[in-house]
């Protein structure tokens, strides 16, 4: 077994081709997040697009790096995440799916 550490998610994401949409296909009602205790979106996203900024005590998310699995929408306990398919052919382009 190799002890060599695996790649970070950021490094992994560098292999994914994405055509960025000007219009966000994910919007979050961040007010609700402040009262959220579980915050499962932080763990479910394989691209780690959701992060909690301790300084501003606020949810930071990045719709541009989305792999479009939509798990965040399913898992949000407060229905704070509104998620839809990106339009105009934008978003992720898997070459080897």
């Amino acid at each position: 077994m190799s002890g060599k550490n695996s790649m970070t998610v950021d490094e992994k994401m560098s292999t994914v081709k994405i055509k960025i949409d000007k219009e966000a296909h994910i919007t979050v009602n961040k007010e609700l997040c402040k009262n959220c205790t579980d915050r499962p979106c932080l763990i479910i996203c394989a691209a780690e697009n959701y992060k909690w900024d301790e300084k501003s005590d606020d949810l930071v998310f990045n719709y541009e790096g989305c792999l479009e699995c939509g798990a965040c929408r399913l898992i949000c306990p407060l229905n704070a995440i509104s998620w839809s398919y990106p339009k105009h052919g934008c978003g992720v382009k898997f070459r080897f799916g």
Binding site: A71, F94, F96, G97
Partner: protein, 456 residues
């Protein structure tokens, strides 16, 4: 006002199969795809299953974009230190291929082109945002500000089906009834793949691993299969359990890659592409919600996945073909109401789809209840055959091979077998065939009972 007979939303295996079949029947069809090319939004633990495709496109050999012809498949039970695997090599599939590995980007584009060649109008980069309705009846779709009218709209737009949602057919997306997949495509030289998977150039291996109580998850799956010069490694877990246990699936994938069994296969590879996707459990949508006035659902939008075997592409394709049959009937009747489109269920029932949905739902129920009976069963068979692990000839309790097999594996069969087989055994073993027929009929009647509630 633009109007056509049928709009198929989503150019995946279900949508393209439906559009292809409709066009061949001479029905005007528009096939809408949100990606710039079909397939670029899709991730499969993808083995392309040829049985139906061969019948549908007999000249497939000309240009079907495939990676390797799968002549070896493995099913493994994976519990960390202990792995049991059943392997099947079928060398006669070299001349008569039944499964290929392939990339969705290439396959979906190829398949959509076949629909286009048959006469369907393929429009890509179009994300359906809403349906146009008239008195509860679906009469078209909206793509941003544009409107497109049709007699019937087929929702083949995946798990988050906009068509299903806006038509009111899909109302919930239960995290317990779906699986998240995180996958990596890892570059490896073909000759290394050949050595490690014991295959030759052009021949492939597909491995399904079922995890039981490995890592933090009680149940999960892994797939590992060979492309021409890369291997695809995907891990799957139920979203419900990930949430409950606060587990990052991509961390689990990294851990899995360190496990000696997996590590030996992928050592020295480099990441080509990182992917994530969601897969629904079969039976997610009730049969009564697969159709409505002017609308049909097929593929993942209709939850037409085989959960027990993990197959999706062939089942979705089958449902697309049956949707086309239904529309053909509706065109002939010139009636696109739910009353006519209900025949979709009858058409599905001429195939094994409805049985599959029923079985998948039951399987999904048992997964949600964390029932891992199958793992033990397979492990016991493997342990009986590979009986070194517990051989101790000095012990009086050590059983010879066959007795061991009967005692260890047999108990899993007993409850079902007794119920099914005891009668003909009593009447004589020659009745076996008849009993199988009887069992089938019984299962079908159980299934029809379940179905009846949707028929009236």
């Amino acid at each position: 006002m633009e109007k056509t007979t049928c709009i198929v939303v989503g150019a995946g295996p279900a949508g393209s199969a439906c559009a292809l079949s409709l066009s061949r029947k001479g029905i005007d069809t528009i096939l809408l795809e949100r990606g710039r090319t079909p397939g670029e939004k899709n991730v499969s633990s993808f083995v392309l299953f040829m049985t139906e495709l061969k019948r549908l496109i007999p000249e497939w050999e000309e240009d079907l974009p495939v990676e390797r012809n799968v002549v070896r498949t493995d099913q493994a039970i994976f519990t960390g230190n202990d792995i049991k695997m059943i392997t099947s090599y079928n060398y006669d599939k070299i001349d008569d291929p039944i499964t290929f590995t392939a990339f969705r980007r290439r396959f979906d584009a190829w398949f959509a082109k076949k629909a286009k060649d048959a006469g369907a109008e393929l429009i890509t980069g179009m994300t359906v945002t809403d349906l146009i309705k008239d008195k509860g009846r679906v009469i078209g779709v909206r793509v941003g500000d544009e409107e497109l009218y049709a007699d019937v709209v087929v929702g083949a737009d995946g798990y988050y089906s906009s068509v299903g949602e806006k038509a009111g057919l899909i109302t919930e997306w239960d995290p317990a009834r779906c699986t998240l997949g995180v996958k990596e495509v890892l570059d490896l030289p073909p000759e290394v793949i050949n050595e490690r998977f014991q295959v030759s150039d052009g021949l492939g291996c597909e491995m399904g691993l079922w995890h039981y109580n490995y890592g933090k998850l009680s149940f999960g799956g892994t797939t590992l299969y060979t492309n021409t010069d890369s291997v695809s490694l995907g891990i799957f877990a139920r979203v419900g359990e990930l949430k409950e246990k606060n587990v990052k699936l991509h961390d689990e994938l990294d851990k899995l890659k360190q496990h000696p069994f997996i590590h030996n296969f992928i050592e020295g590879s480099t990441l080509r592409e990182y992917q994530a996707h969601i897969i629904s459990h079969g039976g997610r949508i009730k049969p009564e919600n697969l159709y409505g006035d002017g609308v049909l659902l097929c593929g993942e939008a209709g939850g037409l996945m085989d959960t027990a075997s993990g197959m999706g592409v062939p089942t979705c394709m089958t449902s697309g073909l049956m949707a086309a049959e239904t529309i053909d009937l509706a065109v002939k009747k010139n009636d696109f109401s739910a009353g006519t489109l209900k025949n979709y269920l009858k058409f599905l029932d001429t195939t094994s789809m409805l049985d599959m949905v029923h079985e998948s739902k039951r399987y999904s129920d048992s997964l949600v209840g964390n029932n891992a009976g199958r793992a033990n069963y397979m492990a016991d068979i493997a342990d009986s055959y590979n009986n070194y692990w517990n051989a101790d000839y000095m012990s009086k309790d050590y059983h010879p091979l066959f007795l061991n097999l009967y005692l260890k594996a047999g108990k899993f069969f007993v409850p079902s077998l007794i119920r099914w087989i005891v009668t003909p055994i009593v009447k004589g073993f020659s009745l076996y065939k008849k009993t199988v027929e009887k069992i089938k009929r019984k299962i079908r009647s159980r299934f029809y009972e379940w179905k009846k509630q949707y028929d009236s």
